[in-house]
């Protein structure tokens, strides 16, 4: 009997919390397909009585949202691809290659995790301005490719690659580069997948730096564009919700498909402590 009561209480609590968690997202979705003026009309229903795609049409035609989606996609994909390469190489090197000062250098890198990104934004802006890169995709891409967190994750995983595997290849005369692409990368696949997902997510959602580094409307990523639009179209709730859906949907889908990898990565990252 006691167990039944516990079961009811626990699961009701879970369902209640889940309801609270889902409600804002559900409302966002429903509002985006509601006819203009209905979302905040005080007649809240869980399922819309009538639905329309006019707000999405407006988003793409008037607000040129496709451009922002393209920007976000290009930037996030490029960052992810380059980050996997660069951090993969570095993580492997720190784990398996011996060079002078390796461990001290790695410890120094770990210290950089303590530093908030905002501290570097101001001079970074000046630096990129000197290089004439402000308002280009590269202004957003270059600074974030090399990530201490990424290097740490890869190194952690790479430590478990059996040395015998690598030594055998070396004895066979395989060059380091061939070895990296042929043996190491495939072995690192699981952690690279997790890192890739994280990197794409983080860069897609990034707001403050693209806000600073991109000054021309046509270059904006989705989050920046959305913030901009919210000033312009503040009365048009439904359209803003459509914009929110467009921004959130890709990464939400990515998350749903790849959750296990994501959660694994978080746990690995926190277990360091």
């Amino acid at each position: 009997m006691k167990r039944l009561i516990t079961k009811v209480l626990v699961n009701s609590a879970i369902v209640f919390l889940a309801g609270l968690t889902v409600t804002p997202l559900w409302w966002m979705l429903v509002a985006s397909i509601s006819p203009t003026g209905e979302a905040l009309s005080g007649t809240a229903t869980w399922f819309p009585r009538t639905w329309t795609l006019e707000h999405y049409r407006k988003l793409f035609q008037t607000a040129h949202v496709a451009r922002f989606i393209g920007n976000s996609f290009f930037i996030s994909s490029t960052i992810t691809a380059l980050a996997l390469l660069v951090n993969g190489m570095a993580g492997y090197a720190f784990a398996k290659l011996n060079f002078p000062g390796r461990d001290r250098l790695f410890r120094c890198l770990l210290l950089t995790l303590l530093i908030p990104t905002q501290v570097t934004m101001l001079p970074l802006f000046l630096l990129l301005r000197q290089l004439n890169l402000i308002n280009s995709y590269w202004a957003v891409i270059l600074p974030v490719i090399a990530s201490t967190y990424g290097i740490f994750l890869v190194r952690q995983y790479a430590l478990s690659i059996p040395d015998s595997l690598l030594d055998a290849a070396r004895i066979d005369g395989t060059g380091e580069v061939r070895m990296f692409f042929g043996i190491v990368l495939p072995s690192l696949r699981p952690i690279l997948v997790a890192l890739g997902i994280f990197t794409f997510l983080a860069s897609w959602n990034d707001f403050m730096w693209p806000l600073i580094a991109l000054t021309d409307n046509s270059m904006f990523t989705l989050p920046v564009a959305l913030a901009n639009l919210s000033g312009q179209y503040v009365q048009d709730v439904e359209m803003m919700m459509a914009g929110a859906v467009v921004t959130v949907l890709p990464v939400l889908i990515l998350f749903l498909v790849a959750q296990r990898h994501m959660m694994g990565g978080i746990i690995t990252g926190s277990l360091k402590e």
């Binding site: 501290v119 101001l122 000046l126």
Partner: protein, 283 residues
């Protein structure tokens, strides 16, 4: 060398700007220096002195700290509770709900802030509708200086509790079953086991979560930027917002760098505190 590209990138885009930030904060770099760098002068600790004398700085510091002290415990408490609920032996469909609880974490802050701005609308927002539904009076969440910050706390807790929940879930699973079973055979009920066995075993996890969450919340920017623009009456004006406004709207980059560095020192202090507490815990 394989490690080369990473080091070059980090050196160029992180280490150099980091040093540059310190130097910037010691100059009076402003709009005129932006046009011609020869206009910048070295002024030592002037920027910091000006900061300490600025009421806006103190208010934004207080606002940021209030936010951290409110959102931190609430968010961590919720994360831990959710983790406990999901590890209960009677919980059903654990995977599904774990996914649901974590979903807000991957959403874009800007999109979420926009959604919540309407949810919190004074007359027609869902939250006030719900309040009226259970007989309470509606609150002008984003319009009232006394409630605006708390509204942002609410939103932030909603968005981030899933993250720490995952960490707690892992921690809970790592507690040796033998310890729990020993307590059970000793006759300890659920709540006593919780307080005397589970929580102490998770002390390092709590410490880690506390500090990393606090550090994250100190960087509050996107939410007030999109929802309230720091208002009403600067009640949601965070430190990073001040840095952004001074640096990129007024172009007082030297002054802004001082703000950034102050923030950094504060967070460094928190991290060192964590190291010390953890070392004394291990003893």
């Amino acid at each position: 060398m394989l490690v080369g590209p990473a080091l070059v990138l980090i050196g160029l885009f992180f280490a150099i700007p980091l040093a540059g930030s310190l130097i910037l904060s010691l100059t009076d770099f402003d709009m005129y220096a932006l046009a011609d760098i020869r206009n910048a002068r070295f002024v030592g600790l002037e920027n910091y002195k000006e900061l300490l004398n600025s009421p806006v700085f103190w208010q934004s510091l207080r606002t940021t700290l209030t936010f951290v002290l409110l959102a931190g415990p609430i968010s961590i408490g919720l994360s831990f509770s959710a983790a406990l609920l999901l590890t209960s032996r009677t919980a059903m469909a654990r995977g599904l709900f774990r996914t649901i609880f974590f979903a807000p974490v991957v959403t874009t802050v800007v999109a979420v802030a926009v959604v919540w701005r309407y949810l919190l609308d004074n007359r027609l927002g869902l939250l006030n509708l719900a309040l009226r539904g259970i007989g309470l009076s509606p609150v002008d969440w984003l319009g009232d200086p006394h409630t605006a910050l708390f509204a942002i706390v609410l939103m932030t807790v909603w968005k981030s509790f899933g993250y720490n929940m995952v960490i707690f879930l892992a921690g809970l699973q790592n507690i040796p079953v033998s310890i729990i079973e020993a307590a059970e055979t000793d006759g300890a009920g659920y709540w006593r086991r919780l307080i005397h066995v589970v929580v102490p075993s998770l002390a390092p996890t709590f410490l880690f979560v506390l500090v990393t969450t606090a550090i994250g919340y100190c960087q509050l920017f996107a939410e007030p930027y999109v929802m309230t623009e720091g208002g009403p009456l600067h009640s949601t004006y965070s430190l990073v917002m001040m840095m952004h406004e001074e640096g990129f709207r007024w172009w007082s980059l030297g002054y802004a760098a001082a703000i950034a560095f102050t923030l950094f020192l504060g967070m460094l202090f928190l991290t060192l505190l964590q190291r010390i507490v953890r070392r004394s815990m291990a003893r």
